[in-house]
Amino acid sequence: MEVSNTFSEKVGKDSTAELLMVKELRVWYPIRKFFSVVGHVKAVDGVSFTAKRGEVIAIVGESGCGKTTLAKAIMKLVPVTGGSILFEGIDITKASKHVIRTWYSRNVGLIQQDPYGAMPSFMNVKTILEEPLKIHHIEKNERERKIYEMLTEVGLTPPEDYVGKYPHMLSGGQLQRVAIARALVLNPKLVLADEPVSMLDASLRVEILTLFKELQEKYGLAVIYITHDFATAKYFSDRVIVMYAGQFVEVGNAKEVIKKPLHPYTEALINVIPDPDPKNRFVIRKTLSGEPPNLIKPPPGCRLAPRCPYVMEKCKIKEPPNIAVNELRLVKCWLYES
C-alpha cells in the first residue's frame, strides 16, 4: 500500500537518521492530596535510547519497573514530565495534537498484552481493522483490499471466514493475530509490542512471535518489544535494555547480555530463567532479596543498592553513571568504573 504521507516524506527523507531518539525521558505521576501535589511517582526517570529503522529492541524488567509507562509515553498516552522523544527528528512531546493524530499515529502501531481487552467487543474483525484506515481517510476499495491483505499476512486464512466474526468468537491466539494486523494495517515504521504473548498459552507464544518476527523483517519495522521474559527477548530482539526502578541499568546486544550479564540486576534476572538442564538441578541460584524501591522516594545512590549482593559504600551515596564497557554495551554500575 502506497499511502501518500507528505508530512512524513518531508521530515523523514533522511533515512540514515535514527527513527526514534529518546533523550532523558521522565514520566512522573503526580500524587495529589486535596488540591496540592505532595509528590511524584517517578515511573520513568531519565532514560535515553535510540532505535534505528528495522531494529528490534527488547525492554526487559520486572513488574512496576516502568517499562509499560515508557511505552505509553512513546505512544503519547501519558503526559511526559521531561526530556524529549524524537521520531524522525520531530519532537513528539511538543508536537501539536493535529500532527500526532494525523501523522504520528499513522507511523506507530501498538500491540497490547490482553488481546481480549484490546478489541472492542461490539465490532467485528472487519470493523476493527477498518477503523484505523477510516480515521486516516483511506478510500473504501483500498480499505477493503488492505483488510484482506493483512488478515492473510497474519495467517487468518481465508480472510472471508474471519471478517464477520466478533472478538468473542475468536481464540486468544486468533485475537492476537487480529491485534497484530490492526497494529500493522497503517504500515507504521515503529511498533510497540507490550508483552504481546504473556497472556497467551505457552504453545501459542512461539507461533505468534515467529509470525511477528516474519512480518517485522518483511516490512522492515522498528520494534520495541516490552517483556519480562529474557527467553523471548533473546529469540526476538537485536538489542536488550534492562530496566530497573524507572531507569536503564544495562544496554547491549541481546545474545551478549544473556551470555555475560554485567549488571548485578541483569545477572539476577537471568538467574531466574527456568533451566531445563538436569545437571543444574542442585545448583542454588543467586536471587535478589527484598523488594524494588519505592518510586516516590527512590534511594539516593544506586537504586539497586539496598538489594545488591556486591554493594559498596559508594553505591549508597552516589548514583552511578552510564559506563560504556564497549561501543555497544552500557552499564549503570560502579563495579565497572575503570
Partner: protein, 465 residues
C-alpha cells in the same frame, strides 16, 4: 439473516419475551389502525366536540356486554321521520292552516328500559305558534298522551326523560289504574316502556313490554305551508366496542388514539432520556476535569429537585400540549441517577485497552466517545430503555389525573381522570375505568416482559440457572 434467526430463536425460547412481543405488536397495529382511521387533528376535533356525539347514549356499556348477560340491554334507536314513518297532511277548511300527523313505528325487544328519550322537532316555513300533541301507543294498545304544547319558532328540543309534568300525570294515572301507589319515582322512560301490571309498582319487579310501539305526533299550524320533521332518540344502555362516557363520547376513539400517543410518549421519552444520559455521562467521564465537574454538579442539583412540583408549576404558568409536556419530562429526567450509573460504567470503559489502542491509531475524542464508549454500554442500556417506556406512559397518566398536561389531548390518562372525577367506580360505570386502565396495564406488562427478558439475554449474569 443469522441475526434475524437469532432474534426469532430467543423470542421463542423465552415465553415471556413471546408474550411481551405479542402485546406490543398488538398495540403497534392498534396505532397503525388509529392513524389509518383518522388523522390526529381530526380525532382531537371530534373528541372535544359536543354536537358530534349527540346521538350516542350517555355512559353506555360496551355492546359485547350483552353476550355476557342473560338480559339483553337496549341499543340506541334513532328514529328520524325523514327516513322512516309516515306523514299525513290535512288542510284545515275555513280557518286555513294545516294538520300534520307523523307516525313512527319501531320494535322494542330488549329486556331493559332505555336510558334516555329525547325528541327533536324541526318546523319549516312557520312564523306563528303551532300546537303539537305527542301520543305514545304501546304494543298492548295503551295510549299515553305524553305532551301537549304550543311551539314557537322552528326548533324544539324536548327531553321526555326530564318531563316532570308527564311523570306526575303518569304516576297519578297508574295509581288509579293499578289501585296502588308506586314505591319509587317512575321515570318517563320506564313509564313509556313498562308493562302496566301490578309489578310496575315495585322497582324490582317492573318489566319491559316488548313489541311494536307507535309514536304519533300531531301538529296543528295556522300556516298551510308549514312542514315538520321529528327525530326521536331512544338512547340505549350499550354502545359500540367500548361504550361511552358522560359526554356521550365513544370511548373506542380514546382507546384507539390513546395507543399511539402512549407509545410515542413512552418510547420517545425513554429513548431520548437514556441516550442523553449516556452522552452526558460519557462526555463527563471522557473529558473529566471541568466538564465532569460541571455535569456532575448539575446532576446533583437536579437529583434533589422535586420532579412533580416543578412539572405542576410549569403547567400552571404555561399551557402545555402533550409534546411540550414530553419535552419538560425529558429535560427533568436526563439528569438523574442514570447519569451516575453510566458515568461509573464509562470511567471503567475509558481505561480499557481498546480505548488506548484507538487513541494510538488516531481516533478523535468525539469518535472515541460515540463510537467506542457508548456502544459498549448498549447491552445494559437497551433493557433500561424498554423498561422505562411504561414508566413514562404511567407518568403521563398520573399527570393527567393530577390535571397536569394537555386538556385537549386524547390519552388514556385523561379518560381515567374524567372517569375518576365522574365517579365511575361508585356509580358502577366500570367500563369507563377498566378500559383505559387495562390498556395501561397491558402496555406496561408488555414492555416489562420484553425488558426483563432482554436484560437476561444481554446481561447473562442475571440468567436463570
Amino acid at each position: 439473516m443469522s441475526k434475524v434467526t437469532l432474534i426469532a430463536k430467543s423470542i421463542f425460547r423465552y415465553k415471556s419475551l413471546l408474550v411481551g412481543t405479542i402485546i406490543i405488536v398488538f398495540f403497534f397495529f392498534m396505532s397503525v389502525y388509529a392513524v389509518v382511521l383518522m388523522p390526529y387533528s381530526e380525532a382531537v376535533k371530534r373528541w372535544n366536540s359536543l354536537d358530534y356525539w349527540e346521538d350516542n347514549p350517555k355512559l353506555a356499556s360496551p355492546s359485547w356486554i350483552n353476550l355476557l348477560l342473560n338480559r339483553k340491554l337496549p341499543e340506541t334507536l334513532i328514529l328520524d321521520s325523514k327516513y322512516l314513518g309516515t306523514k299525513v297532511r290535512q288542510e284545515i277548511p275555513f280557518d286555513g292552516g294545516v294538520y300534520i300527523r307523523v307516525e313512527i313505528h319501531f320494535n322494542y325487544e330488549y329486556d331493559d328500559f332505555p336510558s334516555e328519550i329525547i325528541l327533536r322537532l324541526y318546523m319549516h316555513n312557520v312564523t306563528r305558534t303551532a300546537i303539537t300533541t305527542l301520543t305514545w301507543v304501546k304494543p298492548d294498545g295503551t295510549e299515553l298522551i305524553v305532551d301537549e304544547s304550543s311551539m314557537v319558532g322552528g326548533y324544539r328540543y324536548y327531553s321526555i326523560s326530564a318531563d316532570r309534568q308527564f311523570q306526575a300525570r303518569y304516576t297519578k294515572y297508574i295509581t288509579e289504574k293499578l289501585k296502588g301507589r308506586p314505591t319509587y319515582d317512575i321515570s318517563p322512560e320506564i313509564a313509556l316502556f313498562a308493562k302496566e301490571v301490578s309489578g310496575l309498582l315495585n322497582p324490582e319487579t317492573k318489566e319491559v313490554l316488548k313489541g311494536r310501539y307507535r309514536v304519533i305526533l300531531i301538529v296543528k299550524s295556522p300556516e298551510s305551508s308549514a312542514d315538520v320533521d321529528v327525530k326521536l332518540n331512544i338512547y340505549g344502555k350499550v354502545f359500540g366496542l367500548a361504550g361511552t362516557d358522560h359526554k356521550r363520547r365513544d370511548l373506542w376513539l380514546a382507546i384507539v388514539w390513546g395507543t399511539p400517543i402512549a407509545l410515542a410518549f413512552g418510547v420517545i421519552a425513554s429513548v431520548v432520556t437514556v441516550f442523553l444520559e449516556m452522552i452526558i455521562a460519557a462526555l463527563g467521564a471522557w473529558y473529566s476535569g471541568f466538564v465532569d465537574y460541571l455535569t456532575q454538579r448539575i446532576n446533583d442539583i437536579m437529583l434533589v429537585l422535586p420532579f412533580l412540583p416543578i412539572l405542576v408549576m410549569v403547567s400552571y404558568f404555561y399551557r402545555l400540549t402533550i409534546w411540550t409536556l414530553l419535552g419538560i419530562v425529558v429535560v427533568l429526567s436526563i439528569f438523574g441517577s442514570g447519569v451516575k450509573v453510566y458515568r461509573a460504567m464509562f470511567l471503567q470503559i475509558k481505561e480499557m485497552p481498546y480505548i488506548e489502542a484507538a487513541k494510538v491509531y488516531g481516533a478523535s475524542s468525539f469518535r472515541i466517545v460515540f463510537r467506542y464508549m457508548i456502544p459498549k454500554v448498549f447491552p445494559t442500556a437497551i433493557p433500561a430503555i424498554v423498561l422505562s417506556v411504561p414508566t413514562y406512559v404511567f407518568l403521563e397518566a398520573s399527570l393527567a389525573i393530577l390535571g397536569v398536561g394537555d386538556p385537549t389531548a386524547i390519552t388514556w390518562g385523561r379518560v381515567l381522570e374524567e372517569a375518576f372525577s365522574g365517579g365511575a367506580v361508585y356509580r358502577g360505570y366500570f367500563h369507563w375505568i377498566l378500559e383505559p386502565a387495562t390498556c395501561l396495564v397491558l402496555m406496561t406488562l408488555g414492555f416489562a416482559l420484553i425488558g426483563f427478558t432482554l436484560d437476561k439475554i444481554f446481561n447473562p449474569k442475571l440468567r436463570e440457572l
